[in-house]
Amino acid sequence: MRLVFTGRQMGSETFDPARCDADELVMMVDVDRCIACGACELACQLEHGETAGAPGALRPIMVGTDDQGPTVLPPLACRHCETPCEYHDDYNFWITCPSSRDRWIGKAYCDACAGRLERGLWPACATRCTMKTIFFGRPSDIAFVLNEKRLREMGDVEIKPFDR
């Protein structure tokens, strides 16, 4: 599964669907909309039967939008173990979890809610996100949504004040 972040301050490259397999699954997180509410974390705990408070059924990563102020908490299908992976190189990256060891209570690693995928449903975190921040689908779906977002944003023109 590929994880993509998008947002005005992310500075991520344009997501290029041609770089991915058509069948690949992609989770896109719109950091502009994320309010760090933690619903994704709770959704994961709920879905996998953990009681609330189990450490890190899903570990959201902290993404700072600038050097001040609170960070947002988009979900990350990662267990933050020590085994190196390509995660930290780029905002567009594979989640190739080389480890299937049981490091946390009961759960190995994120499988994008395989039980839900089998029934044609999105993973729990994406389904339950409060601000409709997480989008999930094939690369072509993601590209479509990203394009829509950019079109909407073209209405956002910064107004500069008159000199005083």
Partner: protein, 726 residues
């Protein structure tokens, strides 16, 4: 390795659907906060196995917030109260009894008070976010027993019929959400005034973020760089207590740049010329000095507001509305009027947490519970309360001591808490999916129906069952005429009774509200005739909830009135005096207390339940005290270190969390903390406040092993050199 990448399903849908085995899906309405979201509950063998948002519900459209999700754990939380408990004095422990005995015990307590004192010594109290049925039943009970001291008298005074907004518009602020959220996407500029919607009402923040995605300018005025603030186009980080001054500065600039709708002012208002004169001195430089802003930021904000129309202003969420004064509300209304944004799509003064039942129509509100407790006349004989008022008491030890001396306290709630610790009777109430009833307070000006979908644990009963039982035990059964033949409370009959007698909801009925039989979302009120039960559809709006989306439209009359604005003159009148000095004008810092302690609720805090339901950690932990990193460094403290925050009213202990989103002179600690909750082991910050309505408290801070005097000296020296925006 799981072969996620090779999944062969061709379509993947975002459906609010469970994959666990279930027998049925029920649609109901969440009551945890004023957003009022639609919920799909998946039931198996009478128990909830899963919970999702309702895709068809216009408020949340399938989304669900942490508070809603936490409901699942909350409902099964073993700490929940399951049976009534009583005791003769606070020295003895509460002992469990049956409902009849507890109701009789309470009725006896009431009779004892009535013997020696006047009827007015009965005080019924509930926050505006208490379940609608609790407030309705409480008002009714107060009426039955002849006391004016009912829940509406504890709600913030500016929102009452005696507040200045009523004078301006002919409608009290507790009912003034002019434009429903469906319409908010039409705004070109949204001003969020003193609210952290992302933390307190995240689903209500949805339409704001949607609008922003489409290019709407967002101006946020607050004293902490909250999650709402970082979404802003312009964020005015003002000194705590100086928000109204920032508004005055913006309005001054609007007048100065002639960005006011003179036509609207001439046609529909009076008294605004006085406002222009009154604000002549509020230049950007002056305002920047008072608010600790950069003048340029103020000018940018005024520019956005002045260049974009329509403009709306959002204020008054359940957590921050107690800090709003008449002046705040009148200035916010003035801003929207000046920009000609009243009665048009995308405009409006949109005050949150409105309710058609908020105003009991009785005498003006008390100033506060604290004032009543400290009154030497000791007016409070019996206190029946909901929502853990003890934990939120301001005024330090004296008010808490006075509470403990109250002759008779009745606690209603779901968990043991600081209030039940000081109560003589405790009644366990059912929670939202466990009883059917009205949901009236909200951020969408909608009245909804919540269906019971599961049985409550133990011997919990619904708020209406509590009040009806107590009313009958006190011999006032006539006031509660909604019992079935076998003595059960008919919730639908009761709801129809309350809807029918309120002129704002005259056309509504439970039959028209039930989300399993009607389009979800309820009805927008005021709904006074059959036309208000339809979806509005014209060139301005296509409503997704039945009813009127935009109030005060031109060439329409306000429901129940023969004019557009139901005032004496038919116009919006700017009040001659809008409430005097600014709330929060608390003068200069006292010598030994240089810092401002502010507070708000975190995102998983549910109004009546506090932090109980979070349970995200298993151990008690000290509450976080957020402090600017420069301040922490000054005191040689690091993240995680214990800290003491104190003033002459008391002290609280917490763990330091560095937060550069604060001004260096401001610290923050979350509200809704109770030392009897499993998550936090300590008193909440309200202990240090003089009054609950104050935007901040003057305090000092130091590590527990540090010399307090030395810490104060360092702080004083540092703050002398700190300039605006540091």
């Amino acid at each position: 390795m799981n072969a996620v990448g090779s999944n062969n399903r061709s379509t993947l849908a975002k459906r609010q659907q469970s994959v666990r085995p279930f027998d049925s899906v029920r649609r109901t309405t969440c009551r945890n906060c004023p957003a009022g979201c639609g919920v799909k509950v998946f039931i198996k063998d009478g128990g909830i196995v899963d919970i999702f948002g309702d895709e068809d519900h216009p408020t949340n459209k399938g989304s669900f917030c942490p508070k809603g999700l936490l409901s699942l754990y909350h409902l099964k939380n073993p700490n929940r109260l399951a049976e009534p408990r009583i005791r003769e004095s606070l020295d003895a422990p509460l002992r469990p009894v049956g409902w009849d005995e507890a109701l009789e015990f309470t009725a006896d307590g009431l009779r004892r008070m009535a013997d020696g004192r006047r009827r007015e010594s009965l005080f019924v109290m509930g926050a505006e976010t208490a379940p609608t049925d609790f407030l309705l039943g409480g008002e009714r009970f107060g009426e039955a027993l002849g006391t004016p001291n009912r829940p509406s008298r504890f709600h913030p005074a500016p929102f009452h019929a005696t507040g200045k907004v009523q004078e301006m518009f002919g409608v009290p602020a507790s009912q003034l959400l002019m434009n429903a959220p469906r319409d908010w996407c039409n705004s070109r500029c949204i001003v969020v005034y003193g609210c952290d919607l992302a933390a307190s009402d995240p689903i209500t923040f949805g339409p704001v973020i949607d609008a922003r995605d489409r290019g709407t300018a967002l101006v946020v005025i607050d004293s902490k760089r909250t999650m709402t603030a970082i979404k802003a186009t312009v964020f005015l980080q003002v000194r705590p207590g100086s928000r109204a001054t920032a508004l005055k500065g913006i309005i001054h600039l609007l007048f100065g740049d002639e960005r006011v709708d003179r036509e609207f002012l001439a046609e529909s208002t009076e008294g605004f010329e006085r406002l222009e004169k009154d604000l002549a001195d509020f230049t950007p430089e002056h305002v920047a000095g008072v608010c600790r802003l950069c003048p340029d930021d103020l000018i940018r904000a005024a520019d956005l507001i002045g260049r974009n129309k329509p403009v709306q202003l959002i204020a008054g969420d359940w957590n921050t509305r107690r800090h709003l004064s008449d002046q705040d509300l009148c200035l916010g209304a003035a801003l929207v009027c000046l920009r000609g944004s009243v009665g048009i799509p995308g405009g409006g003064l949109n005050l949150l947490n409105v309710s058609p039942f908020a105003d009991g129509g009785g005498p003006p509100p008390h100033r506060s519970l604290e004032e009543l407790l400290l009154d030497p006349e000791k007016p409070v004989g019996v206190l029946i309360c909901h929502g853990n008022p003890f934990a939120g008491l301001a005024g330090g030890r004296p008010t808490r001591a006075a509470f403990r001396e109250l002759p008779f306290v009745v606690h209603c709630g779901s968990y043991p808490d600081a209030t039940s610790r000081n109560a003589h009777v405790s009644f366990p109430l059912s929670d939202w999916p466990e009883y059917s009833g009205l949901v009236a307070h909200g951020n969408g000006r909608a009245i909804q129906w919540c269906n019971k979908v599961v049985e409550a644990p133990g011997r919990c009963r619904s708020p209406l069952e509590f009040w009806t039982g107590l009313g009958h035990a006190c011999g006032a059964g006539d006031f509660f005429p909604w019992l079935t033949d076998d003595g059960a409370v008919d919730a639908r009959a009761a709801a129809d009774f309350f809807l029918g007698r309120n002129p704002l909801t005259g056309a509504a009925s439970v039959a028209a509200l039930d989300p399993e039989k009607n389009p979800p979302g309820g009805l927008l009120w005021p709904c006074v005739d059959a036309g208000d039960l339809e979806f509005e559809e014209d060139r301005f709006i296509r409503g997704d909830v039945r009813g009127r989306n935009i109030l005060f439209r031109r060439r329409r009359t306000y429901p129940g009135s023969d004019r557009r604005f139901p005032t004496a003159s038919g116009k919006v009148r700017y009040p001659t005096s809008s409430g005097g000095g600014e709330t929060g004008d608390m003068g200069a810092a006292p010598p030994a207390l240089p810092l401002m302690l502010t507070t708000a609720v975190p995102v998983d805090s549910i109004p009546a339940l506090g932090q109980f339901v979070s349970d995200r950690t298993r151990r008690s932990k000290p509450p976080p005290v957020r402090v600017h990193p420069r301040l922490a460094k000054l005191l040689d403290l690091r993240g995680g270190d214990p800290v003491v925050v104190e003033n002459h009213r008391g002290r609280i202990t917490g763990a330091l969390v560095p937060d550069s989103g604060l001004d260096a002179r401001v610290i923050w600690c979350p509200d809704g903390i109770d030392p009897h909750q499993p998550d936090y082991a300590g008193d909440g910050p309200m202990l240090l406040f003089a009054a609950a309505a104050d935007p901040f408290a003057w305090v000092s801070i130091h590590g527990p092993d540090q010399d307090a005097e030395e810490a104060r000296r360092r702080l004083a020296a540092f703050l002398e050199t700190a300039g605006p925006g540091s």
